[in-house]
Every structure is written in structure tokens, then in C-alpha cells.
Symmetry: C2
Subunit: 98 residues, 2 copies
DNA sequence: CTTTTATATCGTAAGATGCCGATATTGAAA
DNA sequence: TTTCAATATCGGCATCTTACGATATAAAAG
């Protein structure tokens, strides 16, 4: 599995992005209000609401996490669902000898 | 053990700093030319030479790693020796659930 | 004391990042 | 086909980061 180690480290350098990743780890805790099944992921709007930031800024953070491969996105109708990419996350931790 | 998780992530966001940490993992491989015992650490000048960067820039990178607690420094005469702080590094990896 | 060597710090410029509001896009609904 | 809702993208600032050369500091050497 090839990863962009540098993109991942840079993505993780932001507290907000680490927070988003943490929230996505327990969607049933942090996003229980979502109408659609959480198995799809969490839609951008709900993540927005948790961050005290503008919609455009949160969208950019999600794009950064996505480009790093730490999350995946899945569009359904007008919603875009995001979830952790556990395979990439685990692979990153495993190779992370430091 | 309290760590500045954010400072560590930010320190690791630079490829050059990750490279320095990697070199320091095997000083006998990368800094065998050092006259003084490697058990002291590796002196700044030798690290300088490995990086294709100015002395002042490398000094700043070392300061960043130091502030994050990823390395320690030890001055002896006119030299400043740096070595990895394995305890902090390991503690960081351990808490790194992501 | 003066000079040399090793390293840190300062001032600065270029580029990257983070944030915003405004606008574009996409799909659903009326 | 107009409108609405969800999200992405754009343009613009402000701040942070990285790099440099120049200078300061500290210790050793002469």
C-alpha cells in the first residue's frame, strides 16, 4: 500500500483536522442526529456544525484529509458522506517507526 | 508523561525534520566520522553537513525538534550534541490512536 | 587579548496555510 | 424550470513556515 506519508503528516499537523478524525471514530456518539445510516459515513453539514468554523473552511479541511487518504467520501444525492479510511490510517501507524 | 502533542505533530510535518530524526536513530551509520563518542549525541555541525541547507536553517530545525521534546541537547564546550528522546517518541506513538 | 570554531539568534523575503464571505455547482423539490 | 438545500470552489487577507545571510555568543586556541 503506497501512501503519501508527507501529506498525511501535514494533514495531521492541524488540531481541527485531528479533532474531525477523532469525531469520525465514534460517529454514533458525535453524530447521532444524522437521519441517514451512519454506516454511509457522516455528511459534511453535521461535521460543519461541530467545528466553530465557516462552512468553506471545514470543506477545505475535509478536502485535505481526503487528499491525504485519511478519509473517504461518498456522494449520495446532495449529501457528501465522509468516513475514516481505517486501512490507510492503520498502515500509516504501522510504518510510523519515527 | 505530559507531551505537547500539537508541537510534536507540527515538528513531524517537515520532511527535513523527520529525516534528521531518522538519521539520529542510527548515528553510527550516518555520523561515524564524529570524533567524540556518539553516546553523547551527534553535534550540530555534522547534522548540518547532511542537510543541504544553511547552518542557521538546520539550527532552527533542531530547535523545533527540541521544543517538541523529540530530541534532547547537551552542550559540551563549543559543541552541542543532540540525540533522540526515545521516551517521548515512544510515548507519542503509544498515545497516537488517531 | 585576539582569533578561530561551533552554534544560536536576528531580520527579512517568499511561499504555504487558514480563515472568511461570496459565488458556483449539484441534486432534489416545488 | 424555478427554487431550495448541501457542498465545493474562488478571491483575498492575515498569519505561519521555511529559507537565507548576517550577526551575536561562547568556548577554545593562539
Amino acid at each position: 500500500m503506497q501512501m503519501d506519508i508527507d501529506a498525511i503528516h501535514k494533514a495531521l499537523a492541524s488540531p481541527m483536522r485531528r479533532q474531525i478524525l477523532a469525531w469520525l471514530k465514534q460517529p454514533e456518539v458525535y453524530f447521532s442526529e444524522q437521519q441517514h445510516p451512519l454506516s454511509l459515513g457522516v455528511c459534511a453539514g453535521l461535521i460543519d456544525r461541530r467545528c466553530a468554523l465557516s462552512q468553506s473552511t471545514v470543506s477545505a479541511h475535509l478536502a485535505t484529509l481526503l487528499k491525504a487518504g485519511l478519509i473517504t467520501s461518498h456522494r449520495v444525492g446532495q449529501w457528501n458522506y465522509f468516513k475514516r479510511d481505517e486501512a490507510t490510517i492503520q498502515a500509516f501507524i504501522d510504518q510510523m517507526t519515527l
